[in-house]
Symmetry: C2
């Protein structure tokens, strides 16, 4: 094991007896709101997997997106949450066989390499390390670890991410609101706020969104929206208006309907772009593939059901899309995908011998 | 004179002899980038005005938008720049007859009242105080102080602002990028960045914007745009890409042309909304009115001339729009409009007697 980077975080290990040859895997879902780490045993997994899954421990921490909190804080959060999960499960690092970190803000190979570099300082050389965008954990939470198919996440932000069975991957969107994620919760709400301003200053039609949004925010006039918006332009605060817009659309408001319809097309387009680039639909366009859908925008379960409309829109082009709503959380997905990677590597190494 | 709020700022006054009955006016253009104060004498203004105008002093300071730097810093900047201009012109506050503050971030009557309240603490009771959105200074810089017509500003941000001769006013846009100012320099550039991402992930057509923008920013791949954008999402930094997009449009790129064409429609729509609400075009739609245009996006003077296209688009609906490109700076416009207000009030008070 390499140098212990942070004495305090790993202090608990002195009190843990080395636990025979029992081996574990860590799965981390690192998001902008919170970070979750799951510790699971490496078992002779069956098909189907045991239900419930044998989760040894679960730990939670804050934001680990380096774009939001900076490199150092993100790293500390990730290290702490892994130590907590191990400590709770009664193991130390010598029991760890693989770590799968799925972290938001991993958009480029340099992001991945930077995280791999410091992970390598924490864990012994034989530990397998996998670093992914957090969308991968969401996909794996639907496919129980198998990286095949496409996941669409739409909450405050949105991203589509896909894998072929032979390991090629592709993504669409996930670049944030400045770079055009208009199908996201933030995108929907920002368009609705703009529609209120446009109705107010004569650039757009009158809309029920005006009274509904002002009422929801406790404001008197659309002029006050400018101050409200820039007082704290956090994406989540703005995205929280989505239910108001859905209610307006259900009440028949044309602007609200136009915005939601556009969001449906944008979200479906992200999935279609990934499916197309990876050829998940096969040559004839009819091959079946898992389509995992997660996030508040897709799970609203209202009369105006954005998720259902997105699926309909995708199915028209790709009838083989098999909708999956995950039953386990993304961190479990990360652990399961780590286990999948490990099995593949072990098999490959076995073949070479 | 009421209590001296900030001894240091006004210390220079002790060294200035009270200058007989000579009277001056202060005009301030308070923007997000910089703040300019002009001190002008109150003269028996002629028609046409003297050329050059008798500017006594000019002082410059930083940002005075309270949304950007906070209330206290904005106030201090405005007070300092006024003191500097007075000090340079060799007068003290007893010579001031009127102050016209045109400040960005004044979007609501409460913004105006807050600034009036603290201005009242700085100047004696008889001084006339006028607080306006900074767009008003830009309009007055084109009309030499007369608040009649419509101004369109399009730089990093955009706003349209108009006045009727009897003092009714209206604005459109000016609510920032989250609230849909898509015709602004920021709006144009953000759409171009989004087009690069969409081309890269398969959601949009390939575009010359990709190589041009990456080259301008010294980046290798569209993936790197995400990190670049969120490392410092300042509006001006993103808006600085507009010339790259104009070049791509001139080279025939369809996406760049689509974005610029949309910006033209959005900018023209802002003006049309103001003209319509104020009835500046008269009942038959053909009445003439001043249309003042300012800002980097409208002054580019390239082959693809956004400003010219906007004027063409407006003139199709309102042939009476008389284009004015201001020859003096907005702070002079603010001073001239302060003088106009003052003359009107004096005339009104004279009539009452």
């Amino acid at each position: 094991m390499k140098r212990n980077r942070n004495g305090e975080i790993w202090d608990f290990e002195h009190e843990i007896a080395v636990a025979g040859n029992r081996q574990v895997i860590l799965g981390v879902d690192g998001g902008t709101t919170s970070t979750v780490c799951i510790c699971m045993p490496i078992l002779p997994f069956s098909n189907p997997l045991p239900d419930p899954l044998p989760v040894l421990a679960r730990a939670v921490a804050g934001c680990s997106n380096h774009n939001s909190v900076g490199e150092t804080a993100a790293r500390e959060t990730l290290e702490q949450v892994m130590a907590d999960a191990l400590s709770k499960s009664g193991f130390n690092r010598s029991a760890v066989q693989a770590v799968c970190l799925a972290v938001s803000g991993v958009n480029h190979p340099t992001d991945e390499q930077r995280i791999l570099d410091w992970l390598r300082d924490i864990f012994p050389t034989h530990v397998k390390l996998y670093v992914q965008n957090d969308a991968v954990a969401a996909l794996a939470s639907g496919t129980m670890g198998k990286l095949h198919g496409c996941v669409l996440i739409a909450g405050t932000g949105t991203i589509a991410y896909g894998f072929t069975e032979d390991g090629r991957e592709a993504r669409a969107a996930g670049a944030g609101p400045i770079l055009g994620d208009w199908g996201s919760g933030y995108g929907i709400a920002a368009q609705a706020l703009a529609a209120v301003i446009r109705a107010h200053d004569g650039r757009g039609p009158q809309t029920l969104l005006t009274s509904s949004i002002l009422h929801a925010l406790g404001l008197c006039s659309p002029d006050e929206l400018i101050g409200w918006t820039y007082a704290d332009p956090s994406w989540a605060r703005i995205a929280a208006l989505v239910p108001v817009i859905v209610s307006c659309a259900e009440a028949g408001d044309e602007e609200a309907n136009r915005i939601l319809q556009y969001s449906v097309e944008e979200l479906a387009l992200s999935v279609k772009a990934v499916v197309q680039r990876l050829g998940l639909c096969g040559i004839d366009g009819n091959a079946s593939f898992p389509l995992v859908m997660v996030g508040g925008v897709l799970e609203a379960n209202k009369r105006w059901d954005i998720g259902k409309e997105v699926v309909n829109c995708i199915s028209r082009d790709y009838p083989g899309a098999l909708l999956i709503r995950p039953k386990v959380e993304p961190a479990v997905g990360a652990a399961l995908s780590g286990w999948n990677f490990l099995m593949k590597e072990t098999n490959r190494e076995g073949c070479k011998e």
